[in-house]
């Protein structure tokens, strides 16, 4: 968020979600009960939710761009009355 570009912020959010998934898989692999598959199920749902959130976030970026003609994050600070 220090860069000021909305799409780059969304890419960063996707990166963080992937990092969380890596942690889940790693702890599932080396944790107490890998035969139960809890980590795998959690990661599958997390991937699905991240995909839905990416779609909605990028639709919002497109809608904001239509209104203000650029994607600078610091300029998107007014609610249209």
């Amino acid at each position: 968020m220090s860069r000021g570009n909305s799409i780059l912020v969304l890419l960063g959010v996707e990166l963080m979600l992937n990092a969380g998934n890596i942690n889940l898989i790693a702890f599932w692999r080396y944790g107490s009960a890998p035969a139960e598959g809890t980590g795998v199920l959690f990661v599958l749902f997390a991937i699905a939710i991240a995909a839905a959130e990416a779609a909605v976030g990028l639709a919002l970026v497109i809608a904001v761009h239509r209104h203000q003609r650029n994607i600078r994050l610091q300029e998107a600070n007014r609610l249209r009355g």
Binding site: I7, L58, I62
Partner: protein, 171 residues
């Protein structure tokens, strides 16, 4: 830790770091796609094959397309300059926050009891995954399906241009 694992890990982290530092948005998106492919390779190394294939299908296949579409649909006009450079005032708190999160995570990983035996655990097969999804977790599966449907419909509604029929009812 084998050489292959170290190589995959280094490539994933390096492409992600460079993707966040580049000016050009399309190159950032493509480097991040390479990072996601590296993460899928990590899932294969860890023994979660289905998750690796799901990662490739969803992230490298679908989300990269959506990101590239969004980047291409929001190109700046010719006379507008490129995005603002990262000022030092905003970079330092970001670095401190990232470092703090890294410290907390590293402390949690080192402090938690983990198996270090060399014997691989019993595999969690795709058949077992399917039985789990359709059995005890069927409600969550249905909810995720509904959530995906609603989210994608909402994304279409948000991103669609205004209907031309709305401007006419001022009589």
């Amino acid at each position: 830790m084998s050489l292959a694992f170290l190589l995959i890990a280094f490539l994933t982290v390096a492409t992600a770091a460079v993707a966040m530092a580049l000016r050009n948005l399309i190159r950032s998106a493509l480097l991040l796609v390479a990072s996601w492919a590296g993460i899928a390779a990590f899932y294969l190394w860890a023994g979660a094959e289905f998750v690796a294939f799901a990662q490739v299908l969803v992230y490298v296949g679908a989300i990269s397309m959506v990101v590239l579409f969004a980047v291409l649909l929001t190109r700046p006009s010719r006379d507008e300059t490129e995005a603002t450079p990262a000022s030092a005032g905003r970079f330092l708190p970001a670095l401190i926050t990232g470092g703090a999160v890294l410290g907390v995570l590293a402390g949690a990983i080192v402090g938690s009891p983990l198996r270090t035996s060399a014997k691989p655990p019993a595999a969690f097969t795709v058949r077992e995954l399917g039985l789990q999804l359709m059995g005890p977790h069927a409600a969550a599966l249905v909810v995720i399906g509904a959530l995906l449907t609603v989210a994608l419909l909402g994304a279409i509604v948000i991103a669609a241009p205004g209907r031309p029929g709305d401007r006419e009812d001022t009589r």
